[in-house]
């Protein structure tokens, strides 16, 4: 019976990683966004993972405990001809670093794949256990 909880554990990791991937996608989509009239540009977001016990203490799943905003200063570019430029000619962009986000994306996708593989192996083993004695 205990192997069935692998699906819960790996499933929680898969959903957490896909949420991370989601956040990366919105960060990358807004990498070049400029600040609106209120002067508040897009701030990059990061997920925070947390271990969550599942059933017995032996198996530990994972969940996204919070999504935090990156508090680095927003990127300012001098471009007086831009319609969103402020009185000094600066345009405020988001503080997303595309290189970091790409690395984050690769890491999330690898972790996702790992967990899918774990689930597949557990499934194969359980199916073989079902056929025991035949």
């Amino acid at each position: 019976m205990s192997m069935f909880s692998i699906f819960g554990v790996s499933g929680s990791a898969i959903s957490a990683q896909s949420q991370r991937l989601n956040v990366v996608a919105s960060n990358l989509a807004n990498a070049d966004a400029v600040a609106g009239p209120d002067g508040q540009g897009y701030k990059g977001r990061q997920v925070v993972f947390e271990t969550v016990p599942m059933g017995s203490d032996a198996s530990a799943g994972v969940k996204v405990s919070s999504v935090r905003e990156n508090n680095e200063p927003l990127r300012k570019v001098h471009n007086p001809s831009h319609p969103s430029a402020d009185s000094e000619g600066y345009v405020t962009h988001s503080n997303v670093n595309p290189v970091e986000e790409m690395v984050n994306m690769i890491s999330a996708s690898r972790s996702y794949q790992n967990n899918v593989e774990v689930m597949n192996t557990a499934k194969t083993l359980l199916l073989k256990t079902l056929q025991m004695g035949q």
């Binding site: 205990s2 692998i6 554990v9 032996a58 198996s59 972790s111 967990n115 192996t121 083993l125 004695g133």
Partner: protein, 143 residues
């Protein structure tokens, strides 16, 4: 007579439960590969197996009553530490190979290798059980 026939099966079924337990521990490690502060855990199969095989040495041969048992013919109640074959107490902490800043001690390469290794051994145990049950069945049929 019949106990002799199935003692091998019993051994392998214990091994199978422990393998499943270890598989679950490794799956938890892989799931938490990116969680800050998570400490990798693992099951020492050798000692767990030794524990499982010695703790259940034929209850009849046990002359001194176990704790909580007032007569030697009483069946001892399973307690938390010995009842389940793969109980939590046997889980240890995996040694850290490459310490990281966030306190996570999962080595993904090692965990994946362990996972594959464990699943192959799980399957081997399954085949042992299958072969043995086939042997018993053909002995019963006597044809």
């Amino acid at each position: 007579m019949f106990a002799n026939l199935t003692s091998g099966l019993d051994f392998h079924s214990k091994a199978l439960v422990l393998r499943a337990e270890r598989q679950r521990a490794i799956a938890s490690n892989i799931a938490n590969a990116d969680t800050p502060g998570y400490v990798a855990r693992d099951l020492d199969f050798k000692s767990a197996m030794a524990n499982a095989t010695t703790s259940s040495l034929a209850p009849g041969s046990n002359t001194s009553p176990a704790s909580g048992v007032t007569h030697k013919n009483h069946i001892p109640l399973p307690d938390g530490t010995q009842g389940g074959i793969g109980s939590l107490s046997k889980l240890g902490y995996a040694a850290q190979t490459q310490p990281s800043m966030d306190g996570n001690s999962v080595d993904l390469d090692r965990e994946r290798a362990n996972f594959v290794d464990n699943s192959v051994r799980y399957e081997a145990t399954l085949r042992f059980i299958n072969g043995q049950s086939k042997t018993i069945l053909s002995a019963i049929q006597g044809q």
